[in-house]
Each structure stands twice: as C-alpha cells, then as structure tokens.
Symmetry: C2
Subunit: 405 residues, 2 copies
Amino acid sequence: MSLSFTISARDSSTRARRGRVTTLHGSFETPAFMPVATAATMKGILPRDVKASGAEIILNNAYHLLVRVGVERMRALGGTHGFMRWDGPILTDSGGFQAFSMADINTLDEDGVTFRSFVDGSRIRVGPRESMEIQNAIGADIIMAFDDCPPAARQEGDATSKPAVDPHAYRARVVDALARTTRWLEACKKHHARPDEQALFGIVQGGTDLELRSQSARDITGIELPGYAIGGVAVGEGTDEIRRVVEHTAPLLPDSKPRYLMGVGYPRDIVMAVRAGVDMFDCVLPTRNGRNGFAFTRQGSLRLRNACHTLDQRPIEEDCDCIACAGGFSRAYLRHLFMAEEMLGPILVTHHNLRLYQRLMLDIRRAITDDAWSSFVASWPVADPVASMGSEAVGDGRSEPETER
Amino acid sequence: MSLSFTISARDSSTRARRGRVTTLHGSFETPAFMPVATAATMKGILPRDVKASGAEIILNNAYHLLVRVGVERMRALGGTHGFMRWDGPILTDSGGFQAFSMADINTLDEDGVTFRSFVDGSRIRVGPRESMEIQNAIGADIIMAFDDCPPAARQEGDATSKPAVDPHAYRARVVDALARTTRWLEACKKHHARPDEQALFGIVQGGTDLELRSQSARDITGIELPGYAIGGVAVGEGTDEIRRVVEHTAPLLPDSKPRYLMGVGYPRDIVMAVRAGVDMFDCVLPTRNGRNGFAFTRQGSLRLRNACHTLDQRPIEEDCDCIACAGGFSRAYLRHLFMAEEMLGPILVTHHNLRLYQRLMLDIRRAITDDAWSSFVASWPVADPVASMGSEAVGDGRSEPETER
C-alpha cells in the first residue's frame, strides 16, 4: 500500500474531519498545509527549518524538475528526498498546469503537450506517460495525474490581457478537457511504474460550472485511486466562486480518501474548504508573499517596507514562536533588510509565514477535535471570510517563479 | 576598561601568539577571523548559524549603516547588537575606506570627506567626528579610527582603468595621508564618547613603502589605545607584497595589544600574518565567494557551477561539519541550486566557507599551543603560499556589495 488514511475526528456541524495520512516516508496530520519547494528547494529555507515550522509534507513541481534536471539525471541522483535532504513525505504535481500556463509555446494533441524549455529553448514533450516517468524518477510519496488545464475564462471585470472568449466555445473547450483529463488519468494509472511506493491522485476539473464539476467527479472517482484532488480552483476567481465550487465538489469525493484542494490559498479559503471536507492544501502565498515583505498574522497582513515600521521594535507578531519573532528580529530591522535588499529579509518573513500557516493548521485540527469553531474563528480574524483582507496572489499560484531572489 | 587582551601561548619559532580578547559583550579567542556583516546582516545567514560556524566576533560597516540607517535612527534603535540580534562582540570599521573608494563623488578637506549617498543621492559628510558619532551610535565593542585612504597606486601589469600616477606625486599624497591620518586619530580619540564601552583602534598606513610604514607605526602607536591595526593592505597587491608589508609592520605594534590586519584575506595570507604576530582578521572572501558558488576547502577551491559536479553525490568536503556538508547536501544539488539561481545555493556555500575559515583558525590556535606548525601546514594545503591557488578578490574586500543577492 503506497498510502493509508485514517480519520480520527469529525466536526459535528460541518463536513470537517481530522485525520492522518501515512506514506513510505512517514505520516502527516490532516488538514495539512504543504509549503511549495518548487525546484526541490524552499526558497532560502533549510529543510530542517521547514520541518521546525511544523510542516510535515512539502510539494515539488515536476515541471521545474523535468526542465531543470530531467528524468535521466533525477533517476541517477536517486530522487528528490536525498537530493534536497527532506526525509518526510513529498507530493509532486504533474507539470500539466505549468506546461499549459507558463510555457511560451505549447501545442496540445491527444497524447500531451509540447513546449519550449525556459532554460535552453529545447523542445520538451509531456503527457501522461512522460509525467509519470518524471514523477516516478522524482520519487515523491504522492504524485498527481497529468490533466488538461485550459486557461481560465476571462471574468467580468477582469483587468488582465486575456482575450474575451465566446462562452459557448469556452464551455466546449472545458468539456473537451474533462474528457481528455479522464482518458489521461487512465493512461497515468497504466504508466505509473511504482504504485506500491507512490500514491497517484486523480484531479477533478470543470471550472466554475457545477454540472461539469459533478460529471468530472463521477468520471475521476470512477477510477480507483488512493486519493483525489480538486483542480482548476483559485486561478483568478474570487473567494465566493472558490467557495461555491469547493462546497459543491468536496462532498462528491470519497469520504474515506484524502481530498486535496490544489493551489489554495488564503487562510479564509483554507478554513472554508476544511469545513467543506478538504484535507490537504498547498500554496505559494506564505513563501512568495514573505519574500516580498508581506507578513501574514492572525489579524491580517503587514507590509514590512512601509515607513511606519522604521522605528518599530516589535516583532511581526507578539505571540509567534517562529524563528523571526521568537528570535527577536524587529519590524524596524526587517524593514531595513528589505530596503537594503538583503536576503535575510525574505528569509525571515518566509520563516514567519510558514510558521503562521502551520499554526493555523494546528488550530484548525484542534478545533475539529474539540468541536470549537467559534473560539477558533475568534482567535483568527484573518480566517474570517468577511473581515479578512489581503492582496490577491499574482500569476501561477501552483509553483514558485523561476527568476527571483 | 573597554577591552582586555591576554596572551596564553607563543610559538617558539615565529612571532605567532594565541590569546583572548575580552569586551563588554563577551570574549573571543585569537588569532580570530571576523566574518563581515556589512549592513548589520551576514548575507542570507541567521546570527545563530554564524555563531554555530564558530565565529565569536563579527564586523559591521559603519559606512553602510551611516547611509542606510543614520546616526539618529541607530541611536533610537539602541545600536547594532539588539538590531541584528548578535549578542557577542562586534567590530565596526570607520567608513573611511568606503567613503574614499566607493562613493561616486568625494571631496577631501582637513575635517573629512563629502560624498553622495548611494541610496538617495543626498550629500553626506564624514570625518573623525562623524565617524565616532555613527560608531558610538552603532555601539560595536571595537571601533576603528577614521583614516585617510588614498586609492592604491597603479601596479605594473594592472589591467584596471586606474590612471597611471607619477610615483613622486603618489608618494607625496601618501605622506600627506599619513600625517592626516595621525591628526584624525587624535580627533577620533577626542570625539569618542564611549571609551569605557568601546575600544578605539588606530590604523597604521603607508602603502607598500616600508619606511612610511615604520613612520606611521611610530606615529600611531604614540597615541595610547587598546589596539592597533594594519590598514591599506590587500588593496590590489599580490601575496608577496602583502607578506613584505605585514612582516615588516606587525612587529612594530605593541606586543601586549591586539593587532588587526584589515581586509585580509586568503587562508595563505592569514597563516603568514599569524606567523608575523597578527591576532585579528576580517574579509568578505568566505561570504562573497560563497554566494558566487566558490567553495573553499583544505585542498583548494571548488567552482560549484562546473558541469563536473552534475552527478557528484559527495559533499563539498568529506570531513567538514558545516550545515551544508554534515547536512548531506551534495555537490550535484548545490550545482542545481546555482544553475536555477536558487537562494539556498549561496546560503549553503556561505555556511561552508564560514565554517572552513573558523576550522582554519581553530587549527591555527591549536598549532600555536602545540608548537605544531609542520603538521598544521600538512593538513591545510590551501594555506601553503606556494601550492595554493585561487581567484583574487574583486573590488572592495572590506565590505559586502550593496546590490546583490
């Protein structure tokens, strides 16, 4: 068995559940937040400190490791656990999302997608077979199906440069993608060479169309797998749309298996999804925002470049036990580091945000066991969907950018 | 007493001595290597990890803290120990070297130098009085005299764009600088507001002219101070020239006080200077080279970007106990990090280099106590002046660059 899942407590008034997932590299408690170590490194943070933040499982991006390292070299190096020195559970995404959204040139056919390497411009092909190949070589404990991810439709009021799409044409593309995603999942299962060591999860798509979500959930869960994910969420839509899709889709996934909401998100979105019955989360928000000087707190967020912090001797958060706060680094010092473009600024705020997210998950798990949602919500204003504010994630929320400090 | 120095052992065949310097923030063993935390941060490294490398004293650059933070704010923040969370001894240089060499526009007069801030272009003036003001505000345990540092003369075969200088005019400028440096040292002593808490060191100049070095040593040591430094070394001249100046000058400084060789250097230069009787060293080589993927080892140096490391599962150095080597991070992984421009590459190699330098100092101190130079040299090929190789330091070796990851 590549993976087992046990549920130890359920909230009486919602679908929230607490549990534990066990893999060959150890176990993690759920609901779990998995920080993103895109190219087999959490930017600027040593694995021992990722562990110290409370994270029990982390994510690597297969796309980046395919382009940067490749299948043969990854095989020769013996996989990501030894390579990056993380001995706990690891999850890899399939590379599909990035191949569709990040690559300069991509062509889609029945067997996959072809794109240009951002490193050397070479032609790279990835489909269900190739995705399984690189994910088998990486050797993560949980691996994801290669899915067809059509770009998100342009939303009303969307200020981006995405072209306006005929809604009927767009729906036809999404329906087409659903069918292909199901065929590709079958192909992934067939090509997956290490099913006893690595658990393959299927991904439900369907955009914001609940009927399509239902159909996709039926198709995907019709294929027997150790876990299932909700994909195509938090790709530009607002909190209310995320809620509508997640609250509809999560209960359609088997109760006895872990449910993973991909690329989400803000504390308020995580709390909402936990109450809908989701068990696993990943997002680049704590790390990416941390590198840019945005600190999450229980109350909201702080922009540490702001002049108001110039002489502020307080830590980011008084009661926080992270390396930055417990280490006594002041907001004044952090502002100085960001103004001077010193690496230690991004590092310290990333430490804080990683710990903040894990403290949130700890309190969520405790709230489920104790059936104590109201006191939980009172102590986490940032998780309140109405009160909380925050700048939105920019770009691809499912992997860290390539060229950035 | 701001500082005390005791000598516990002397080498029988050289001038090398082992001792301990005690300050208000604790003590450090000598010969000591002080890593450089330019803007009150060791780039990418937490203070706890600097300490774990074995460093007992670190250096801040007054110039950068003057421009970035300023006297008033530094006073309001209570000084650098609390600001950067380093509770051990700290040394600040005076800002003179950077004001003369880094600033875009500088004008020299009898009371100091005026230059433009690299942050906002504002006009900043620094002389003995202002240097003491900022160094008193920073609050380091050892502070340095503000000296007149004329740019180095163009050497034969020097490929830089420095203009050729008439040797007589150049010598006149150096002689002039010596006299001014002595007057400025008197002024520093007079303006130093915290002599009971911070030890002021004088700096001997004189370029590569041994007669001028002797004169400067007489003038500077004629002023009673807790310690003395050799400045103007390793500003472009080769190992042999450094040796000639250091072997001449070090014995001219009082035996009972700590001797500090500023901005030096490579392991071979440090070993040479220790044998000439020097006690304290600082240099950006371990940190700057580390960030650029150059690792020091006992045997020589490694360029981790080289393709030969692509599949190399060995650590940088087999017997090293640093966070990178003992942590099991392979050369293959480090190369991957540098190729992908990931912060963890510079961080890990900086860790290694910091520890390598401290291991060198540990072995040097042991060799002095045990009178065991030959076995020491045998175990440190990189410290052998003939056998060792290495790319030269680029630019200002006395502070870290501003705009760099």
